[in-house]
């Protein structure tokens, strides 16, 4: 029983990272109709920022998260404004290709700057945690989950309560109508992508604490973002939160299958995603538009 409770907790805690990875990916996909294959690379950029600030200035990794968010927002804004906006009217698949190219560029620039060494942020309190009998709740993971939920809440706030957020929602509903009512599409698109990148940056900061990063370490996260966003349902932040936590749970229980079963954790997650798509394309939480 304690083991079961522990697994649930671990799954939810791990889900925090997936929420952070998923919300940005889902926003860009849902609003801009861009499948951002460079999302994982942006995540790792955030990871390196956190690591650099931690290694050079001994800044607490959680305090670096706002820095990641701001820096990645700027990078994302510039990428969308300068590059991706140029193909927004091209067929959908072109976004795959464009972001694939951007992914290649970012990864290799990281390789030039940081080299291929494995980096990880290990603050002094890393590994500490609450203990309830045999059930453990590590501080770092708990705070990460908190940070991820806060990030999702902030994003939801921006989207629903601010002018630019409403503009973004309007674009998601009908791009041409949005343009007609005077929304500056170029700016709004760039802000949207910037927000997505900012979320990726925060996710990267969290990831740098739980694992070691290299320039190529983001690739699994791009794939996982697909599953998270689809599981929850495209288009709403709250749905992605559910998707991320669900993915964490599926992974934890998939891995806990006795014997060699855990190697199928990925296959189970992707299989589940296909099943959700086929039977309930709006996702577990989504609404059909």
């Amino acid at each position: 029983m304690a083991n079961f409770v522990q697994l649930v907790i671990l799954g939810l805690l791990a889900g925090g990272v997936y929420v952070a990875v998923g919300v940005g990916f889902g926003l860009v996909w849902g609003v801009l109709n861009i499948v951002n294959l460079a999302h994982g690379a942006l995540v790792i950029v955030g990871g390196y920022l956190t690591w650099q600030l931690f290694a050079a200035f001994h800044l607490d990794p959680f305090l670096t998260l706002p820095v990641d968010a701001v820096a990645l927002f700027v990078l994302g804004y510039a990428l969308q404004r300068g590059v991706i906006n140029r193909i927004i009217r091209a067929p959908l698949l072109f976004t795959f290709l464009l972001t694939f190219g951007i992914n290649l560029v970012i990864i290799n620039i990281l390789l030039l700057i940081f080299g291929s060494d494995f980096r990880s942020v290990t603050p002094t309190y890393s590994g500490q945690g609450f203990e309830f009998g045999s059930v453990v709740i590590p501080y770092v993971s708990l705070t990460s989950l908190g940070a991820a939920l806060l990030l999702a809440a902030a994003l939801a706030f921006i989207l629903n309560r601010t002018r630019i957020g409403l503009a973004i929602n309007a674009i998601a509903a009908d791009r041409d109508a949005a343009q007609l009512v005077g929304i500056d599409l170029r700016h709004a698109y760039a802000v949207t992508f910037g927000l997505g990148a900012a979320c990726a940056g925060v996710a990267g900061g969290l990831i740098a604490m739980t694992q070691a990063i290299t320039p190529t370490a983001g690739e699994p996260y791009t794939l996982q973002a697909f599953v998270v966003v689809i599981l929850g349902g495209l288009g709403r932040v709250s749905a992605t939160v559910v998707g991320g936590l669900a993915f964490g749970l599926v992974e934890a229980f998939g891995q806990s299958i006795p014997g060699s079963g855990s190697v199928f954790a990925n296959a189970i997650a992707f299989g589940l995603m296909v099943l959700v798509l086929v039977t309930r394309p709006q996702g577990l939480m989504g609404r059909l538009r």
Partner: protein
């Protein structure tokens, strides 16, 4: 550019070329250059390990060229190693192998990094009948194909953690139960298999064997299973990435064991820099450590090798075993060429098969399949942020710190 200027330029280039050709007038003892080649993952997911491999190759080529080259029948042949980037992609590695053979006229091949690339390239070497000496593909499946032209200087995968079991059997109180975690790639599974078959012979029980997806980013459920198994020894067979993730999760989830040992990871400096004090007490199975004591028949002593590495690559700490085994591959090739007294690929292949020599890396000798089963693996432990060799006792520089204290008492 006018035609006249162009003509002048061409003339100048020709003159310069002639001048250069003249200045490298070969002495009586210098022969043709031997071209060696290796495709490596200089970009992509295997960049770290490939870079270490390249460092190992370069250390040797610097050394041999400072001596004028490999001596074959009193003629010195300088050496050039050609590298290409295979972007960590096995199919591209095969293309580059073929380029090295066909276009660069490489006489001999050095191995790529990784079991998948090595397996693909071994088939190319076989079809072209060019010997490939490799240092970074320990999976025995490569050597069970009856290939005649592939040689591996490193101990096979199944030996990686057997040293840890041997060491554990000598400790007091003797640990008896093992929780084995393993990535699901070829190499890691062979390592795990080696443990599973070997443990019982040392009176130990594998109470948990769990495979996980290679490259998994979150291993907390695996660590939880190991905790539930309550074993004396926690072994991981995977890669640096997973070793770091498991160690972090073990601390978070209060997984306490008497021994934590990982196949790959602890020997690299990155493991200590990434984990800080949490890296202490971790054991690693290693092909080689800077503390081993072997009496080399040629090339540098262990201490000189470490010094040479630090001089060429300052700021990177001690060379780890990826570097050393890569250098050893070059040494095996060098000695085989010398023994063969020829640059003929077939004769060198036969000399490789008959090779038996001890260098700073240990004994290099190949079994009938072409892999080096004669060199023992060593066990190292991280103590106070530094690597120490703790087993076998004959090469050790420290006692194992045993048992590992629980996480809240460190």
């Amino acid at each position: 550019m006018t035609l006249r200027k162009l003509a002048l330029l061409v003339a100048a280039v020709v003159v310069a070329a002639v001048a250069c050709g003249g200045s490298t007038s070969s002495g009586p003892t210098t022969g043709s250059t031997i071209i060696l080649g290796a495709p490596l993952g200089l970009t992509g997911s295997l960049t770290k390990e490939s870079t270490l491999t390249q460092q190992g190759y370069n250390l040797w080529s610097d050394w041999i060229n400072a001596r004028g080259g490999i001596v074959v029948n009193n003629v010195k042949h300088p050496v050039v190693i050609k590298y290409y980037d295979d972007t960590s992609n096995a199919n591209q590695s095969a293309v580059l192998m073929q380029k090295l053979i066909t276009e660069d006229k490489a006489s001999f091949l050095l191995g790529p990094y990784g079991s998948a690339a090595t397996a693909t390239d071994a088939a190319i070497a076989e079809q072209n009948q060019i010997p490939m000496v490799e240092a970074n593909g320990a999976a025995q499946s490569i050597f069970n194909q009856g290939y005649k032209y592939t040689f591996g200087v490193l101990s096979p995968a199944n030996k990686y953690l057997q040293g840890v079991i041997d060491m554990a059997a000598t400790l007091n109180p003797k640990p008896t139960t093992i929780a084995m975690l393993s990535a699901d790639d070829n190499f890691s599974l062979e390592v795990a298999d080696g443990v599973n078959t070997y443990a019982t012979s040392k009176g130990m029980n594998v109470v948990l064997f769990k495979k996980y997806k290679n490259g998994a980013t979150n291993l907390s459920a695996e660590v939880q299973a190991a905790k539930a198994a309550n074993a004396d020894i926690v072994l991981n067979s995977g890669h640096l990435q997973e070793a770091i993730a498991i160690n972090k999760a073990a601390k978070e989830q209060k997984l306490n064991a008497k021994i934590f040992a990982y196949s790959v990871g602890p020997s690299t400096p990155d493991f200590i820099t990434a984990l800080g004090a949490d890296a202490n007490y971790v054991y690693g199975g290693s092909q080689w450590t800077p503390q081993v004591k072997y009496t080399p028949a040629f090339y540098l002593s262990v201490a000189d090798y470490v010094a040479a590495y630090k001089a060429k690559y300052p700021g990177l700490g001690d060379p780890d075993y990826h570097v050393a085994e890569s250098t050893a591959a070059c040494l095996a090739l060098q000695r085989a060429i010398e023994n063969a007294g020829s640059l003929d690929p077939k004769k060198v292949r036969d000399a490789l098969a008959a090779l038996d020599v001890t260098v700073f890396f240990g004994q290099i000798k190949f079994d009938s399949r072409g892999i080096n089963i004669y060199k023992p693996m060593v066990v190292e432990q991280i103590q106070n942020g530094a690597h120490h060799t703790v087993f076998p006792v004959s090469v050790a520089d420290a006692q194992p710190k045993y048992p590992t204290p629980s996480w809240d008492q460190r």
